[in-house]
């Protein structure tokens, strides 16, 4: 009897856990998180973080390495071309592209836990700066668009 109660509690919590992830059983008909509120997180970066410069700015390896890291850790939610997906917004928009490298680094480090973006401080600082280099490169003249196809480096 006691075992049945414990198993019932565990089962109900596991169902709740599955239902709480987005998009899943319970939320699949709900709208994805509002991109505006997620972009608004960028404005919360402290001044000293906004002013930080990317130490790998002139490293020619930083962009291809950042591309590799992006495909490994970010593309699953933000899309292979950073165009956005069901779970996370586009990173090609002005709100992101006009942010300073320091702001993007701050956001990567702290995540947006309330909206489902995990903290990425588990990647070493250099790798987070490589990701920032890649993200900033998307705004340049060689900015890829979804119909240009994607090349892995």
């Amino acid at each position: 009897m006691k075992n049945a109660r414990v198993i019932s509690i565990i089962t109900l919590t596991l169902i709740a856990a599955l239902a709480d992830s987005e998009p899943t059983l319970a939320k699949r008909h709900k709208a994805p998180p509002d991109p505006e509120s997620i972009y608004a997180e960028l404005t919360k970066a402290p001044a000293k973080d906004i002013a930080r410069r990317n130490p790998l700015e002139s490293d020619p390896e930083a962009i291809p390495a950042g591309d590799k890291l992006f495909q490994m850790h970010c593309a699953e939610c933000h899309g292979e071309m950073a165009e956005g997906g069901k779970k996370a917004p586009s990173l090609l928009v002005d709100e992101v592209q006009k942010s300073t490298p320091g702001t993007l680094f701050w956001l990567l480090t702290n995540g947006v836990v309330r909206h489902g973006m995990p903290v990425w401080s588990k990647l070493p600082e250099s790798q987070r700066w490589q990701l920032v280099s890649y993200l900033k490169s998307l705004a340049g003249p060689t900015k890829p668009t979804p119909d240009q196809g994607h090349t892995n480096h």
Binding site: E61, N110, P118, S126
Partner: protein, 309 residues
């Protein structure tokens, strides 16, 4: 005649059900094979850092511990973990434990169910995570996932036939503290556990760890042996006595180098030889683990049962 028709209908129904379950199982296998996610796992086996599973991802892990045993038979304990990221601040995990004691028997020894909650939204100097676990194990459980109270080597010398008759229902709380500094991770866990069967006092334990990737920058090409794929470190864990006799004495302590190899094809391999630091500890524990992470598991389950694509 009616009986025959009924039997035929039942038979058809059973066959349809069987086909349905086989179809669902095949779909699940296909889904899992295409939703692998790249992992960046810490090398710790006992210590926890403050990173939770990414939301919607499922990590399936197998761990194994070989232990030497004075006054008894050496053993091989093993456990499986199913770790699911419910949200960016909540991870839930289910364990199944077993062990095989040489010259004795192989047993299923129980299950554990743990939940970890991130307490602060942003990264701070020190990042706290609350850990709550319920476990229902037999006295023969030997996975040594933590050391608590006055756990000593001789506790594990009891033959399986006797130890399996003891049943424990435990609640365990941990405060996980962790920070990253110049590529290093430093983690400290303090645990308090209460056996719900009998009038045992609260027992305490600790685990600390430090680790660092072999390279901090990622290379620009995909590779298996790039140094950034390897994370090495060390962890130390042991008991802190109980409410009546708190302290480092009369319990066991271990020191274990740890290494994790995060493969680009979504697998992580961990290895950790552990050494007992006093006479109450097992002299040697060899642990290893294999894990694979599946992204968007919750979404896949939803699709499996007919959810929108």
């Amino acid at each position: 005649m009616q009986k025959e028709t009924f039997a035929k209908m039942m038979n058809d129904y059973k066959m349809r059900q069987s086909r349905k379950y086989r179809f669902l199982f095949a779909r699940l296998v296909i889904i899992l094979s295409v939703i692998a996610a790249h992992a960046q796992e810490s090398p710790y086996i006992v210590t926890y850092d403050h990173y939770l599973e990414e939301p919607g991802n499922l990590e399936v892990e197998y761990f194994s511990t070989f232990g030497t045993q004075r006054g008894g038979n050496d053993f091989h304990a093993f456990w499986s973990e199913f770790e699911y990221g419910a949200t960016a601040w909540w991870t839930t995990e289910f364990y199944l434990d077993g062990q095989s004691t040489f010259n004795e028997s192989t047993l299923f020894t129980g299950f554990r169910w743990e939940n970890r909650f991130r307490l602060l939204q942003h990264e701070h100097l020190i990042n706290p995570v609350l850990y709550i676990e319920y476990e229902q194990t037999s006295g023969a459980d030997k996975i040594l996932k933590e050391v608590e109270g006055h756990d000593v080597e001789s506790d594990y010398a009891t033959p399986n036939s006797i130890a399996r008759q003891e049943h424990d229902h435990e609640l365990e709380f941990k405060l996980l503290l962790s920070r990253n500094f110049h590529g290093w991770n430093f983690a400290e866990n303090t645990l308090a556990t209460k056996n719900l069967t009998g009038g045992n006092p609260w027992e305490f334990g600790y685990a600390i760890g430090a680790s660092r990737p072999l390279a901090l920058k990622a290379s620009a090409h995909h590779c298996n042996f790039c140094p950034e794929n390897f994370i090495a470190g060390v962890e130390m864990y042991g008991g802190l006595g109980d409410r009546n006799s708190f302290g480092l004495r009369d319990t066991s302590h271990y020191l274990a180098p740890v290494v994790a190899w995060n493969l680009p094809n979504d697998w992580t391999i961990r290895l950790s030889p552990g050494f007992g630091l006093n006479d109450n500890s097992h002299q040697f524990l060899l642990r290893w683990g294999l894990s694979r992470e599946f992204s968007r598991f919750g979404e896949a389950i939803s699709h499996l049962f007919g959810g929108r694509q």
